[in-house]
């Protein structure tokens, strides 16, 4: 190769490097600037500043733990007393996950090309899932609490609504990878749409569905605890009341907290074990959705 061509390669590369450095420099600078200024804005808007506050982070846990330790003897009693509330929270999560799986499966099939009952309506069902995913549970829960009155049902409906959207999206990705051949085979014998879906698609997608559903269940337990905090019953409601009252009930708070923590960790471990067996779900896309 002649020296001229090497020089050309050199210049090109140097130019490329400069551009890349510039871009990544700008990107980095923008990111750092956003982080720093964002932090400063948040810090200024907060009642307590970060630098004053972080030494006090343990204040609250300390008070709670101190009281809980002092009344350690009552802890088992509290654990038993709040167990029904925990069951309610788990029930909310379980029922909403169930409905979410059913609704999500249905919507995902209606919105997957090749499977859809009404192919023209695919965009409609897709948007429906998007909207269901986008509305935070707390919004639906509060509206329903107004209409239906407080309790577990509004929370259940709210979480189920969101779950339908979230699982529907993941399920339709699973469906897209399912083979259409069996479906067509069933169509050729004159099977109805339901038969095609249940007999032709479900056997293919069931393991993936199950894996996602388990992960969702775990997420829904957290969601139902949070909704309890805004009036939807369950362990979150108990926690809020105990925490609000403060001193005198911190032992109860601690007991509730222990229950909640143990539950979340248990289901987390169980579901990740089970999912590992079934197939690998994509946690990143699932969490919080």
């Amino acid at each position: 190769m002649s020296g001229g061509r090497v020089a050309a390669v050199r210049d090109d590369y140097m130019e490329l490097t400069r551009r890349k450095r510039l871009y990544s420099g700008i990107l980095l600078a923008v990111f750092v600037a956003l982080m720093v200024s964002g932090f400063m804005v948040a810090d200024a808007r907060n009642a307590g500043g970060f630098w004053d506050g972080w030494t006090n982070v343990l204040d609250f846990p300390r008070v709670v733990v101190a009281e809980a330790a002092e009344k350690a003897g009552e802890l088992p009693g509290h654990l038993i007393a709040f167990f029904p509330a925990l069951i309610e929270t788990i029930n909310i999560a379980a029922v909403s996950t169930l409905f979410g799986v059913l609704g999500g499966a249905l919507l995902s099939m209606l919105s997957t090309r090749g499977l859809a009952r009404w192919p023209r309506l695919i965009p409609l069902f897709r948007r429906m899932m998007d909207v269901m995913r986008a509305i935070p549970e707390i919004v639906i829960a509060l509206v329903l609490i107004f209409v239906l009155g407080g309790g577990p049902v509004p929370a259940m409906i709210a979480i189920a609504f969101h779950t339908v959207g979230a699982l529907g999206k993941l399920f339709s990705e699973v469906n897209e990878n399912a083979s259409l051949k069996p479906v067509e085979g069933l169509a050729s014998v004159g099977a109805t749409w339901t038969q095609r879906m249940v007999l032709g698609v479900m056997p293919q997608v069931a393991p993936n569905y199950l894996s996602y559903a388990l992960l969702r269940f775990e997420i829904n337990i957290r969601a139902s605890a949070i909704l309890g905090f805004v009036g939807a019953g369950g362990i979150g409601y108990e926690l809020k009341n105990a925490m609000s009252w403060g001193q005198g009930q911190y032992d109860e708070s601690a007991a509730i907290f222990l229950l909640l923590f143990a539950t979340i960790v248990t289901f987390d471990q169980v579901s990740s074990l089970a999912r590992d067996r079934l197939t690998h779900g994509r946690k990143s896309e699932m969490l919080h959705q």
């Binding site: 009642a47 006090n56 008070v63 009341n241």
Partner: protein
């Protein structure tokens, strides 16, 4: 520490957050002028948010309910000190916890509530929880435990929620606050019922009063004890003199007609503190 860099005021619930901030905008301006430092307003979601702010030193001033003050005091006696209290139009500074139910549920008194579902508001509310939770058992002769006298006892989360819950029939009876003056039909002169009526949420014809507490002392405006002395003095003076200076602003920050504020001390709340302490055992 001689000076402060900013002054933070916490505002309790009752109205939607933005309205609360708006109605305190005038106070913010006066305070900035008086102290010469930036003032920030905070409207946390519930009583506990303000209390934690006072305890953690992230909020300098707030108008607390009596029970909330008691909680703050019990958690940390050195955290805050009460300075002022609101005076009602008739010169008193008390109000009542009102028990109420739906008329068509055929509940006319506490006796009819036996076995029914009863709703408190926020656990930190004086009229929504502390006082009724002490005085009602005295009348019924039974505890407030589920199934003891009432079939079920729940927290609705706040005064507004209690009113709606009773009106909807989610709970059979509940407690909220009112000054107890004026007409039942209007929801009394001031209080949570009145606000609900004004908002068109409820029709007082549908509701009946089933119980009324002894007068409850109005909650204090508190300042963080650790604040510099002159800041505390300036703020006390500012709000004390507000009624003469600016009626509108007084109306805004006291959530209705009043005669302004009077000084008050810790001793006025001893009984509430005792009550709260007894509930905490």
């Amino acid at each position: 520490q001689d000076g402060i860099e900013e002054f933070r005021i916490g505002i309790l619930g009752g109205e939607n957050a933005q309205d609360r901030l708006n109605s305190h905008e005038c106070l913010k301006e006066y305070t900035e002028e008086a102290l010469g430092v930036p003032v920030k307003l905070f409207a946390p979601a519930d009583y506990d948010g303000v209390i934690q702010g006072l305890l953690g030193g992230t909020i300098d001033m707030a108008w607390l309910g009596a029970s909330a003050y008691a909680k703050t005091y019990l958690d940390d006696p050195e955290a805050v000190e009460p300075v002022l209290v609101k005076i009602n139009l008739d010169g008193s500074y008390g109000y009542h916890s009102i028990g109420f139910a739906r008329k068509d549920s055929n509940i006319a008194s506490l006796d009819d509530m036996a076995g029914k579902k009863f709703g408190f508001g926020d656990p930190n509310s004086t009229s929504g929880y502390l006082i009724p939770s002490i005085e009602i058992p005295q009348e019924t002769g039974a505890t407030m435990e589920n199934g003891d006298y009432f079939g079920e006892v729940v927290f609705t989360g706040g005064h507004e929620q209690t009113i709606v819950a009773v009106n909807n029939g989610d709970v059979d009876g509940g407690v909220t606050w009112a000054d107890g003056q004026g007409n039942w039909e209007d929801g009394y002169n001031s209080g949570a019922l009145r606000k609900a009526v004004d908002a068109g949420l409820i029709d007082m014809n549908d509701l009946v009063e089933i119980w009324r507490s002894k007068p409850i002392p109005e909650g204090p405006i508190v300042l963080r004890k650790a604040l510099p002395q002159e800041v505390k003095a300036t703020m006390t003076q500012l709000i004390d003199g507000m009624y003469d200076e600016d009626r509108d602003c007084t109306y805004n920050i006291s959530a209705g007609e009043s005669l302004g504020f009077d000084p008050i001390s810790h001793d006025a709340y001893l009984s509430i503190i005792d009550a709260r302490k007894s509930k905490s055992q």
